[in-house]
Symmetry: C2
Subunit: 293 residues, 2 copies
């Protein structure tokens, strides 16, 4: 059954049945003109939106509908993480080709709903539209943060150390693998998985904000090189990155070395990492380590 | 100059320069990983999202970039109006074909920004993505409402009167005119204008909610027939609509009559009206009239 044949009202009912129930801070849910939610006293509201476009951010032959739904929410959670915010609510705006299979939409929504539930978010509303072009999955994520616990890009100061969570380069190498050949081993598969189902650093961002363990933060959606430039520029600083200190994913490093390419340059230019770049003065190192635990 | 040639960072700078400055309840604005805003104490948060897709909801030969930007926000404000909410903040997610002219994007954004400013909203963030397909303008609007002042679809009771704001049918007739011929006179032009630049009933929805003058409300984005069914169903009621009492736009009525078509059926089936359907018991008529003034 295709989306065009089923019709909008029936599709909406199918989608709702795939979503977990909302928490008690949701006063009006999917199905009205808008959703109503309750932001707790002494919390500020954090708003972000990010879209995945078919054949630009994902290809349907390389990513399952479940991968697409997961990633569409994950990239938004990564933005909330970079603000030190607690994720709360999601709006899902789907722009669907008419020939799209209803089962694929259900799988996409179920996977997005599962990630939402894992992070304690409720999917409270959204929109369905059709298109004659590529699929677009546009997510708005709403979080909350206590005053003076939010992280921004602009808090860095001269002398701060720069940290990056996890490893970099895996997702960029993973996309190249998908274009060029079947995965060879577990290290390759790990790279593909980083492209298909990134895990946003929600707990880390939250811990950093709560403990005031860093001065600035940003996620690496457009790669480490871009993030360092943006944080430095917003903080009115320069920045020095030591190539030998970069935590390049071993599978990605091997992939580029085998092709005679510079792993460092490829890794810092590659997007889609969804790790966090953090800036903190050397004196805060102990606090940062404690918060990380 | 096309969007593809200019590049994302430069396009973002151009877009920012077209937007009015944010109000003081915006703590972090466009340019960070997410926006941070302050919801006043004793206010609930209202969330809605609605997308306009090229060649589905608008055609670039019939609507100017300014029309598209206006309408993309207007349809979202209409949803907030139907909840009785005060519009506060906007996120703008643009999915743009690479060959799109930068000047067109600027005109779209400036027009959206002008409508935002007219209703006291700040554009606090968004997203830019490219596409090989049609343009998508996806807006998320965030409003606030005081507890027990929100309107929903489900509050109607047996015996309530149904009201509709303004007139119906003009936008549907306007789209037909665009397909079939050049506008003949001012009545035709009014229909085109209703399709291109709908004016959301923000003040009316807010007044109805504040005065508790109605029991249920919904906007007519998918036409009056659909809205009556949805409000009745959510309120577990039936509904009777008297054809002779319907406020059909005179230009639209003439258009359909000239073509030997039933104006009532065409008007109630036609979408894109962005008027409000309201339900209230007969005894509240005085309160409703007072609130309307």
């Amino acid at each position: 059954m295709t989306v065009a044949k089923l019709g909008e009202h029936a599709l909406l009912a199918r989608i709702r049945s795939k979503l977990p129930r909302s928490r008690s801070d949701v006063l009006i849910d999917i199905g009205d003109d808008a959703a109503i939610v309750d932001v707790a006293r002494n919390e500020q509201t954090v708003l972000t939106t990010d879209a995945l476009v078919e054949d630009v951010h994902f290809c349907r032959q390389w990513s399952s509908p479940g991968d697409i739904g997961h990633k569409a929410l994950a990239v938004n959670l990564s933005d909330l993480a970079a603000m030190g915010a607690t994720p709360r609510w999601v709006l899902l705006s789907l722009v669907l080709p008419g020939q799209c299979a209803v089962e694929d939409v259900e799988e996409l929504v179920a996977s997005l709903g599962a990630l939402a539930q894992a992070h304690g978010l409720s999917v409270v509303g959204g929109n369905l539209a059709r298109t004659d072009g590529p699929m677009v999955v546009d997510v708005t994520a709403i979080g909350t943060v206590r005053p003076r616990r939010a992280l921004s890009r602009s808090g860095g100061r001269p002398g701060d150390d720069l940290y990056v969570s996890g490893t970099i380069g895996a997702a960029a190498a993973g996309v190249e693998m998908l274009r060029e050949r079947a995965p060879a081993d577990d290290a390759d598969l790990a790279c593909l998985s980083r492209h298909r189902r990134p895990e946003p650093r929600v707990a880390l961002g939250l811990a950093m904000g709560r403990a005031r363990a860093v001065r600035a933060a940003m996620d690496l959606s457009d790669g480490l090189a871009d993030a360092v430039r943006q944080v430095a520029s917003a903080s009115a600083c320069g920045a020095i990155v030591e190539a030998s200190a970069l935590p390049i994913d071993p599978g990605a490093a091997r992939w580029w070395q085998q092709r005679g390419r510079d792993a460092v340059l490829s890794a810092v230019a590659g997007g889609d990492d969804y790790e966090l770049l953090l800036a903190a003065p050397p004196a805060w190192r102990g606090r940062l380590r404690a918060a990380r635990r």
